[in-house]
């Protein structure tokens, strides 16, 4: 419990450091406002359209599989810590779990969805 207090202090300190730094810059920096300066950068061209658009992400299948594997890795952590106590039984239990996931991965691979579509 006490060790997490330190983590909380680190978290607060990180935010404070950024705030203090930006505050110092706010005191020191010059300001010469000009409407042209506020244009988004598009290599010197007059910017057109909005950048916050519906964007076609080409890796959504990866993202779906990622969720599965990320949860899997969280499951493996406690198993890995206790591996020596669990012995042969624990090893084969995890092997079955991994094989099921790998079958899923191989299926996705063969269906050619692990591609940049």
């Amino acid at each position: 419990m006490l060790s997490w207090v330190n983590v909380a202090i680190f978290l607060i300190a990180g935010v404070v450091v950024v705030a203090v730094g930006l505050g110092m810059a706010w005191l020191l920096r010059p300001s010469y406002p000009d409407p042209k300066k506020l244009d988004p950068y598009e290599c010197g061209e007059v910017p057109f359209g909005d950048a916050q658009v519906r964007f076609n992400i080409r890796y959504y299948i990866f993202a779906l599989i990622f969720v599965v594997f990320d949860i899997e890795s969280v499951f493996i952590y406690p198993w890995a810590v206790l591996f020596r106590q669990l012995g042969v039984f624990g090893f084969f239990e995890m092997l079955v779990f991994l094989v099921i996931l790998v079958v899923g991965l191989v299926y996705a691979w063969k269906k050619k969805v692990l591609e940049w579509v």
Partner: protein
């Protein structure tokens, strides 16, 4: 002299007599200050080192003018320049996301240092779930990158942010899985426990495959060449931080180098035995091993070309993840037989 020692002793007595509820936050604050000082000094050194090192690799001299010898004050001068730069928040940005993003990138880099063991006794808090904590804190930075990229309302930034998301979903899993073999051998997630488990042989020799996977996926999470697709100055201008300037931009930069240092320290702790070593004091071993990884990652950065985004995802999913799973199975089998 004796009076001074008495005063000091009285101060210490008074300090340790304080109730725990006050003592712990004060101690925590002092530790934060020490660690923050360590990070800032090292980042100043790292930026200078990176410029000198890349200069050497490209038959240049690197910075020479500001401060003699060898332009040692260059980074200080740059810091002052960034501090007094005009701040521009372009029109159309999502103001909250844009302003908060540097803090979200920088803070996790500081957070990782809460569990890094500098020596046997110098550690801020020896969490029993330290490795999960490191993985969790390390993957927070991408949120800040995405916030900055989306919030900037700039097409380059948007592309950089989307690539950052692609990168984290491809390399988060292998980087976590590659450490699993180490956890199985050490039977502990605490970094001090992992250091103690390496008193006979370093894990780099027991887990060579895990080490290679960890190194590759860590470089991807650090967004360093060959995986610097989120910035990619020759394609995306500056990627997610195109619209940032002055100290806001400096915090991205600071976060990047603090992350590099943190990742090197974790790699040194997990695979090279951390602070343990003969003859020299622990802190010297810790710094030497950390800088070994820093130089290694810099060397790779300035040697390799950038890989394409679809290749990047394929390496992650079709090589690193299967290899990490195989590594877990082999480690388990060997541990059962031995």
């Amino acid at each position: 002299m004796a009076a001074l020692a008495d005063t000091w002793q009285a101060l210490l007595d008074w300090y340790f007599a304080l109730p725990t509820a006050i003592l712990v936050p004060i101690a925590g604050l002092l530790k934060v200050l020490a660690v923050f000082g360590w990070i800032v000094i090292n980042v100043l050194i790292l930026i200078w080192l990176e410029r000198k090192f890349s200069g050497r690799l490209q038959s240049r001299l690197g910075p020479m003018r500001v401060g003699r010898p060898h332009g040692w004050a260059q980074t200080l001068a740059d810091t002052i320049k960034l501090l007094v730069k005009e701040d521009i928040i372009p029109r159309g940005v999502d103001r909250w996301l844009y302003v908060i993003a540097p803090a979200v990138v920088f803070t996790p880099a500081l957070l990782v240092w809460a569990v890094v063991p500098f020596t046997k006794n110098w550690i801020v808090s020896d969490l029993n779930v330290a490795l999960i904590y490191v993985a969790a804190a390390g993957s927070l930075a991408v949120l800040g990158i995405f916030m900055s990229g989306w919030g900037s309302n700039n097409k380059w930034s948007l592309l950089g942010a989307m690539r950052a998301a692609a990168q984290i979903i491809s390399y988060e899993v292998p980087s976590v899985l590659s450490l699993m073999g180490v956890v199985m051998i050490a039977g502990s997630l605490s970094l001090q426990g992992i250091v103690a488990a390496q008193h006979r042989v370093w894990f780099i020799f027991l887990q060579p495959l895990g080490f290679i996977i960890y190194l590759i996926s860590t470089m991807a999470e650090l967004n360093r060449t060959p995986f610097d697709l989120t910035e990619a100055e020759s394609e995306l201008v500056a990627g997610f931080n195109t619209e940032y300037s002055g100290l806001r931009w400096a915090f991205f930069f600071l976060g990047e180098y603090a992350n590099l240092l943190a990742a090197s320290a974790i790699a040194a702790t997990v695979f090279l035995g951390g602070w343990s070593g003969p003859f020299l004091p622990g802190i010297v071993w810790f710094v030497l091993k950390t800088y070994f990884f820093v130089i290694l990652i810099m060397w790779i950065k300035w040697t390799m070309p950038r890989i394409r985004i679809d290749q990047m995802m394929e390496v992650g999913w079709k090589f690193l993840i299967p290899a990490a799973l195989v590594n877990i199975a082999i480690t388990g089998l060997v541990l059962l037989v031995v």
